[in-house]
């Protein structure tokens, strides 16, 4: 089958593009090399909805950041995405750098960021008493927010899928070429696909595909960011997202509550070459602890960390989003260099990508497009009566599987059986939070494996953490030939 559009990558940009394209009468397919959506850059970042004062005035980054931020209220309602406008603060700790806040304020105003305000030392300490004693002032952005990055990505993909977009997982694009038939021929490890349009949303790998089809080369550096996630006990240490003043290397190490009540500290910024090297290093972790402590006091990172991880930002040499049809590769649309504020911008990126194709193609809109998605129910927010009603209807909601996050079997079953359902431990984790708590899946992983085994018929030995060869158990004990 020839698709109208093939999107490479089921990260947040690919999913947003898929959802926007699903509004049209187009056959769309997303090819993803991992076993699930949200498996690369989109899964390991600060989970921040940026206000939009950082990016240079007039840049695409600035425009899409502000637009994406504005879209988030409606999108989070439509798709049932955990999102909160907690506001952000850029904190100044050196008197001589106070002017920098003013510059940032001016840039924000020029970018169209609403509600910005410069706060005095007293005002900012009133908002955040746990800031460093050295604080001199801050830029306050009430539109700054926090989001569940997994659900943002998953929800857009699910909704695209419900509206007719195909997803092919474990499908890695090897080469692609536009042939004389006017179609893009895409060779993958899972056979060849053809499409009239290609959207290159391959994250840190986007330069590889771009450079396969265009004479004008781009270069993307995987810029690693190490993070520490702290126990929920620390979740209200600060209530706003706390940034240092930005430098050339980026927005610096932030400290922020997450939508789920943890505290996140990070990222570092380390340029590497391996596009899969998401290993944290001791230096990285030490570095971010010391940097975070400059702005926030009493931060017991070492004692309260529940996990550390690293993500790779897709840093393009010119630090700008590249979203356009390539002049020398017709119908090939780049969606490259999507680094921070990529998560924030993603809904606007999707809109822009779909707009480029719609402008050329002039496709009809679907009459029956449904832009709404109901998320996995969260029994924790229910009253006792509501919860009992739910358990009566489906007893699985009465069976707690993940004790740290209080996740029931019912939620896990939903995660497995909904569109683009989970097939791995990480898939279940990102959809339900089972295994994301302080014991980090020690308790629930054997239990979640049993559920996956029962529901999907995947043998225990074949169940993975996150696809590929990430098997959890290797074989039965005492296995002999002739045993069933």
């Amino acid at each position: 089958m020839t698709y109208d559009v093939i999107i490479i990558g089921a990260g947040v940009s690919g999913a947003a593009s898929a959802r926007e394209l699903s509004k049209y009468k187009l056959n769309v397919c997303v090819l993803e090399k991992a076993e699930d959506v949200c498996a690369g850059t989109s899964k390991a970042n600060s989970a921040i909805i940026h206000a939009g004062f950082d990016a240079p005035e007039g840049s695409l980054m600035a425009k899409l950041n502000v637009r994406g931020n504005e879209m988030m209220d409606e999108l989070s309602k439509d798709l049932d995405i955990p999102f909160k406008r907690n506001g952000s603060l850029v904190v100044c700790i050196h008197k001589e750098e106070l002017d920098g806040l003013k510059d940032l304020y001016n840039r924000g105003v020029a970018n169209g960021v609403k509600g910005l305000k410069i706060l005095s030392r007293e005002e900012v300490l009133e908002l955040e008493p746990n800031l460093s004693d050295n604080v001199e002032g801050a830029l306050y952005a009430p539109t700054g927010g926090i989001v569940c990055p997994f659900i943002l990505n998953i929800a857009m993909a699910e909704n695209a899928n419900v509206n007719g977009v195909d997803f092919r997982f474990n499908t890695e694009v090897e080469t692609l070429k536009r042939k004389d038939d006017g179609l893009w021929h895409i060779r993958t490890n899972n056979g060849e696909y053809t499409a009239r349009y290609v959207v290159n949303a391959a994250g840190v790998h986007a330069d590889i595909f771009h450079n396969m089809v265009s004479a004008e080369k781009i270069h993307i550096t995987p810029r690693r960011g190490d993070y520490c996630l702290l126990d929920k006990e620390m979740g209200s240490h600060v209530t706003h997202t706390i940034f240092p003043q930005p430098t050339k290397l980026g927005k610096g190490v932030l400290v922020s509550p997450t939508v789920h009540g943890n505290l996140i500290v990070g990222p570092t910024a380390i340029d590497i070459t391996d596009k899969e090297a998401t290993a944290t290093t001791q230096e990285g972790i030490d570095d971010l602890i010391s940097k975070a402590s400059l702005h926030v006091k009493d931060l017991p990172v070492a004692r309260k960390v529940i996990t550390s991880f690293a993500g790779l930002r897709a840093h393009e040499d010119h630090h700008e989003f590249i979203i356009k049809e390539l002049p020398d590769a017709p119908h090939f649309i780049d969606c490259a260099g999507i680094e921070s504020p990529g998560l924030t911008s993603s809904p606007a990126i999707g809109e822009m990508v779909a707009g480029i194709i719609a402008d050329i193609e002039k496709p009809e809109k679907k009459e029956n497009w449904n832009g709404k998605r109901k998320g996995i129910v969260d029994p924790k927010v229910m009253t006792l009566e509501e919860r009992n009603e739910l358990i009566k209807k489906d007893p699985a909601y009465g069976n707690i599987i993940c004790r740290c996050e209080s996740i029931s079997e019912g939620e896990i079953l939903d995660a497995i059986h909904r569109p683009l359902g989970a097939r791995s431990l990480d898939g279940v984790k990102r959809r339900t939070r089972a295994g994301m708590g302080r014991c980090q899946a020690g308790f629930c992983s054997p239990r979640v494996m049993e559920i996956i085994n029962r529901e999907l018929g995947i043998p225990m030995e074949k169940i993975t953490k996150s696809g590929g060869s990430s098997n959890i158990v290797l074989e039965r004990t005492k296995a002999m030939k002739g045993d069933e």
Binding site: C228, L229, E276, T278, A279, T280, T281, Q282, G284, I285, A302, V305, I306, T307, S308, F309, L384, R387, N388, I391, K392, P395, A396, G398, N399, I400, R403, C404, S406, R438, C439, Q440, A441, G442, F443, S445, P446, M460, E461, T464, K465, S466, G467, G468, S469, S470, N471, I472, V473, L474, E475, R476, T477, K478
Partner: protein, 421 residues
Amino acid sequence: MLSYDIVIIGGGPAGLAAAAAAKKAGTDSILILERDHELGGILNQCIHNGFGLHTFKEELTGPEYAYRFEKEVYDLGIEYKLNTMVMDISADRIVTAMNRTDGMIQIKAGAVVLAMGCRERPRGALNTPGYRPAGIFSAGTAQRLVNIEGYLPGREVVILGSGDIGLIMARRMTLEGAKVKVVAEVMPYSGGLKRNIVQCLDDYGIPLKLSHTVIDIEGKERVTAVTIAEVGPDRKPIPGTEERYTCDTLLLSVGLIPENELSRSAGVEMNPITNGPVVNESLETSIPGVFACGNVLHVHDLVDYVSEEAKRAGENAAKYVQAGGKGSEGNEIKLIATDGARYTVPSTINVNRMDDLLTVRFRVGAVYQDSYVSVYFNDERVMHNKKRVLAPGEMENVILQKAKLKDFKDLKTITVKIEKD
């Protein structure tokens, strides 16, 4: 709303012993809430021998030991609910619990016994650098997979931490056909029992590297190698001492944490050293009528002591209920742990409520040889017991006599400390 005289949270060794003791002390209305599908708790997966030497004067395996207490609970006709997760305990002792059949229920408890046990410290808490692939297990998770479910989590194994579960799993994995390459321990001594080091490591030629830790984990999907390095006195890795082991599995046995989420949300005062509730001589927490015992109170190394402690908690809960929820008057004597003693359980003593003999348990913070465990009443040394060796891995105790406490004039504090002479 359901109502019971005593609700016991957890049906492991502590909960079972507390229930049986409370029943024998004359309280009939008792309910045990257990989240697993069977009673017995973690002992069901501890299939090795070595349990019960103190209690039964014979060497039992975990499931056998647990069954002796389970049977008692069955024989005494004590009620229990399995597959039931306690979601909340309020300060006025209303227990909210949930299961598939009852839904979410609330139970009014005359007294509550906290017996939730403990959990393992995960990798995240160590902040070990490297990748986050499959193949990293806490030793207890691996134990469950091997012993209960019958799956082999790995074939080539490195173990970080020489806690008893890690040592036991080194032997179990070896007997199941895996190759355990090394056990690294960050401290200069092992937190495990000597016999486990001999019978689980030495017997199988598995090296134990003290003052070593994991500094890198390789493998993007499944673990492919682990690098360990020696650490200095500051527990920081010493450059140049790195050793890389190819392996598919890293087991962690790096400590146990009492599982006190419920206690905290109920408002029970916690001891920052044990991570368990602060209790008095009756094992009663800062909330009247809420008692604690077993690993939720402080992590034990021998289950025999858990059973002993739980029995007291059960009896005291029964006493509390039978007295109509009233405690007796009297001064609280404060217990202080210092000079090598890290904590004491209990933290306070009311002489009027204490038994004729009271066991005070504590742990030391380092290895001490040829030292004395001393007890001071106010400033006067009243006990001075020579010990050939004291180690952090082994729980110690001193026994206080009620008569002596009563006779001591104006007794305000009892101090436990380690002295060289």
